[in-house]
Symmetry: C2
Subunit: 368 residues, 2 copies
Amino acid sequence: MSDLKPINFTRGIPAVESFPIDDMIDAAAAALKQHGSTLMQYGPSLGFAPLREWLAQQHRVEPNQVMLGNGSLQLLEFLSLLMIQPGDIVFTESPSYDRAITLLKRRGAEVIGIPLESDGPDLDALEGQLHHHVPRFFYLVPDFQNPSGVTCSAEKRRRIIDLAERYNFLLVEDSPYRHLRYRGTDEPLLFRLAPHRVLLMSSFSKLISPGMRVGFVMGDHELLAKIAKIAEDTYITPNVLAHGIAYEWCRRGCMKPQIEKLKALYVPRLEACLAALEKHMPDAQAVRPEGGFFVSVILPPPAPSKWVRIAAARHQLNLADGLAFFPDGGGEHFVRLPFCALTPEEIDEGIQRLAMSVQEVSRQAETV
Amino acid sequence: MSDLKPINFTRGIPAVESFPIDDMIDAAAAALKQHGSTLMQYGPSLGFAPLREWLAQQHRVEPNQVMLGNGSLQLLEFLSLLMIQPGDIVFTESPSYDRAITLLKRRGAEVIGIPLESDGPDLDALEGQLHHHVPRFFYLVPDFQNPSGVTCSAEKRRRIIDLAERYNFLLVEDSPYRHLRYRGTDEPLLFRLAPHRVLLMSSFSKLISPGMRVGFVMGDHELLAKIAKIAEDTYITPNVLAHGIAYEWCRRGCMKPQIEKLKALYVPRLEACLAALEKHMPDAQAVRPEGGFFVSVILPPPAPSKWVRIAAARHQLNLADGLAFFPDGGGEHFVRLPFCALTPEEIDEGIQRLAMSVQEVSRQAETV
């Protein structure tokens, strides 16, 4: 059994073979030739201006509504330093991105999870919570959500904005997977529907490269200026060299073909994942996403994911801790399956191992 | 008067003409060719392993005693998140690096300043404070200190370590300027004298480029592992692409000639600064550093730096706020003069304007 090759359904990482290394070498040389003195010096805390302008143009906003950082998670940290005092309430979907939950809790937030349904947050639950407390903000991933794969419907997006207006709270829309839609049509960005109510966060990690650490946030320029002051007090200047390289790469028109390349690579992986679930685990309740990095499943009742995870490890199948995605409990049967960094064959083999692990745990549960 | 070219004695930034842009283009291409898949993917929270190994070899420590980050200031932030609870006491020199003071206070630390003398911290004052409270750590810049330019004597370094041992607290040695010694001989690193007692922080910002954001911390590997967990929870992965480029540049042997280049560039600037002070401001009490980025002066009594700063701005001379370097008061006559990013002519002109501003303020003070 130990001869098996390990298969990791652990982290939402891009496929190594997707990285545009040669184009990046050219972009780095051109960026340093053109902007070397700027890119190697301390820079503005909002990030390298030409990349801010490029992003502003893409999103039809003003450059002062764009702030760059070192990846997007840390921008949420800065927002938390600005807006959250220990004991303050923040809403997230439940499940939600585990690193966001960890970061918010580290800051001392009380994180309340709004149950996620197949078309977005449960709005009755959201409104029920709002009767008790208004959060500092509601952090959500409306497109191809991490960890569930769920996309929020247009109708729910509009109703979430209505509630944010009525109860007066900020929406933090984290949107790193949005451009990776493999079928169906786009739902409107919350930020597009209500720019004054929303901070839009995203990054190049899932499109170009996580190792570059280029993330960004868009929204009200006065709020961004406050976030930038906190950024400056933390690291003086973001990694402007990487901003410059990413800018040059974007300026050359590399983004569109890169996204097409990613889709061509990832679509068969998503299909392999869904087919394998149907074949090997017909009883599991799976989200069938139209894009992004993640499929999620709810395992059948007798097999809690905690035990399945231990059993799977014996079959060289590594799973993330499903409980970590639930800010305030639940998720005992939840499993996230990040499919992008595995080949279709590995995915099929991995889900076979998962099915085997579930069967083992179910059998044990029956004999107890 | 408004035709004057502005002169900035504000920030401690390197000279733009010192950046090794062409070598950096070559290093970027080679690093991406050799390590592209690693540099573009998520990486370890401790940073890119080959650069950690290179630094470990330079400092004769083990690679697990080296952690890389995005510049060094943020590594102090992570240490603060780990070690400081609001209300905890931290010592710094007084004056000290203003950004470190800001960051420590933001975390809720009570920052107590140990007065700095021409050969390092006032040890009687340090011991006096230790009778009342033991700090979580003592943050100090022993070589060519920011903002004063002072270097701590070997004898004082040894006595500081004795006190740290006796009272059982950590020393945080920030050492970004150490390699820029223009004359005299090195004093021993605190970290070399007592590795178990010291966290050594430094960065490539003053040697290669601040825009790359490559900083590091060395010390006990168990403490570093805890700091790395906080880093991971904040930004997942540091900017490994920049780590890879810096590594390739170092591996090629570029560091030594770069340091020689910097010395050749900065020595005449330091000399111009000291000569101009002697010529235009013989009454000011100046620190005459043997290296680094900063000269500091204490203005003669009738001219508080707050008013001089306002007067100077009218002469297109921009000064930093001297008070910000003093964690708990004092420094009313303190002025920091970062000389590296100005030509000798600009430095002479800037100090003439400073002298003129001091005279104006002194005259006003006399007539009141």
